[in-house]
């Protein structure tokens, strides 16, 4: 078959693929175009144009009122703090507990592991009422204790309240334990003979060997922390403490700068898109509980 004939035969496939891609990306395209419109485009009658005839890149960058300079910049910063803290904490707590379940022998280990797995069956949504009450208690009564007053930690409208329920993970413990179990026990024996304690062995041998699983957990934790909605909505009243998800939803109802709100939506989406595209094979592995070699 000649070169030209081969491409001619592929043409229908590409056509179908392109149509599907265009349909799927249409909502993103419209919001992107709208994010480049001047505000006047939204104030007239009828639907704004679907082509950016007069692109206002200032909606993203301008010091007068672009994303970087409206509250949306602050929301993005809050989201970064929350997602980074949650991801780091989950990596630490899950690595420690997974190590205990994979390498240590102690009475009650299987029961405790079952309890850790059971936490996966209790979604946060079920616990929001009591957890919110806990935050109110911590923010009020607990903080008023004389010996704690110096801390001034805010649990409502503060980072501690935004991250606290998500610092440990049953899913992550399970995922990492599966990875740790593939590490030969002989390595532990050899390390023990070299005088390595558990922590040194964990840090210098286990962690480097389980990079893939750790990356999977990191992607999952970050994506979930960045994208969550219900909990940040409950524990923040102060607009300064909103995460970007709450922020863009609130801004989208503010007609006075709706184009900037759309620019904020695109800005909040892009980092996650890059993350997912760059680390897709880790994501797939995580979805299947670490059982697929991506």
């Amino acid at each position: 078959m000649t070169f030209a004939a081969r491409w001619l035969r592929r043409l229908p496939s590409y056509a179908v693929l392109t149509i599907c891609a265009a349909l799927l990306l249409f909502p993103l395209y419209v919001t992107f175009v709208f994010s480049l419109h001047p505000l006047s485009e939204f104030l007239g009658d009828g639907v704004p144009s679907l082509w950016p005839s007069d692109p206002q890149w200032g909606n993203y960058f301008e010091s007068g009122g672009g994303v970087s300079n409206t509250p949306i910049g602050r929301y993005l910063f809050n989201s970064v703090v929350v997602a980074v803290v949650i991801t780091a904490a989950q990596l630490i707590t899950a690595t420690l507990s997974a190590y205990a379940f994979a390498f240590l022998r102690f009475p009650g280990r299987d029961v405790l592991f079952a309890l850790f797995l059971a936490t996966m069956m209790v979604p946060l949504e079920v616990a929001i009422i009591p957890n919110f009450q806990t935050m109110q208690w911590l923010d009020g009564h607990f903080r008023e204790q004389a010996w704690l007053s110096w801390t001034q930690i805010r649990w409502i409208d503060g980072y501690p309240g935004l991250v606290a329920p998500f610092l440990a993970t049953g899913f992550g413990t399970f995922l990492l334990r599966q990875a740790f179990l593939t590490i030969p026990r002989e390595l532990r024996d050899a390390a023990e003979m070299d005088g390595y304690g558990h922590f040194r062995f964990l840090f210098f041998v286990v962690v480097p060997l389980a990079r893939g699983a750790l990356a999977t957990l990191a992607i999952f934790a970050f994506l979930q922390a960045w994208n969550q909605y219900l909990w940040p909505l409950l524990v923040t009243n102060d607009p300064d403490m909103r995460t970007v998800q709450i922020g863009i939803a609130a801004e989208a109802n503010d007609v006075s700068r709706i184009n900037v709100a759309f620019a904020g939506t695109i800005t909040a989406f892009l980092p996650m898109l890059l993350l997912v595209v760059a680390f897709q094979r880790y994501l797939v592995r995580g979805l299947f509980g670490g059982s697929v070699k991506g």
């Binding site: 179908v16 707590t93 405790l112 994208n227 989406f269 299947f288 059982s291």
Partner: protein, 326 residues
Amino acid sequence: MTAAEGVARPGSLVRSAWRMLAALPFLLPSMVLFGAFVFYPLGKAVYLGFFISNPFRTRQIYVGFDQYREVLTSSEFVSSLLVTGTFTLYTVFPAIAIGTFLAVLANQRLPGIIVFRTVFSSTIAASVAISAVLWLVLLHPSIGVLNEAVEAAGLSRVNWLQDGGWAVGEHATVFDMVAAWFIDPNWALISVSLATLWMNIGLFTVIVLAGLQTIPEELYEAARVDGAGRWQQFRHVTLPMLSPTLFFASVIGMIFAFQSFGQIQILTEGGPVDASTVMLYSIYETGFEPPFRVGAAAVQSLALFAIMLALTLAQFRMLAGRVFYR
């Protein structure tokens, strides 16, 4: 006998205690966090269900199981179940069908196919808030683009976010309501479903693509030798081999559907009336809006827990078949 000898003797109590103590630093952080934010709240929710509080929350009155009975038989609860069920139906299975279609398309061997794979999976990165805003742009009463397309196709404009259809009319029984499903569409629920569906397409494309990789190429070769066309290959090789993946995807999809909240809060606020009030939105309204019926919300959240527990157990059984234990 010295303490050291006691430690060395196998099976002794001291040795057991020592081992537990050695494991504690590794487990304590997670145990404390799970205790405070998973197990304690679960017990607390059961406890809260026994009490009603007056609107100012100054007093709690013990009512025992009465509140459980009252909440679980209320028409609001039945309505939220029906809405959640419909929402699940609208979001999970169409998304799996579309995701499978896209995954099969993106699994062809063509130059540059990786671009399409990436595009088709991209919506997995979208949060509920982002996809809700994107769809708000499309469905908005004044700037919504979709109605322009509807009109261009010769159909009448749809009042996307404000038409509750079957869910808001007077229906004597649940059966009347179900009967009205087909003739009086609940556009508000369809709107939040569209935003969710779009998000799910990326997720299911990723899952099905992973499933397709596990099908051995020899099966297709054998089918081709037998003279099977593209459709027959899909019908008799791909689909049967994919069925565990599709089951897994539908369970994940249902779990996500029952956890849905943000898109509803942003697009419809559960309305009109209760037309798009799914279970979680109902919990939010009951517990976090005046008159703050915390106990009733706790009961609803336990009902949600029971449903999700059943789904998660199904998922675990599924995963257990794929995961090795030692």
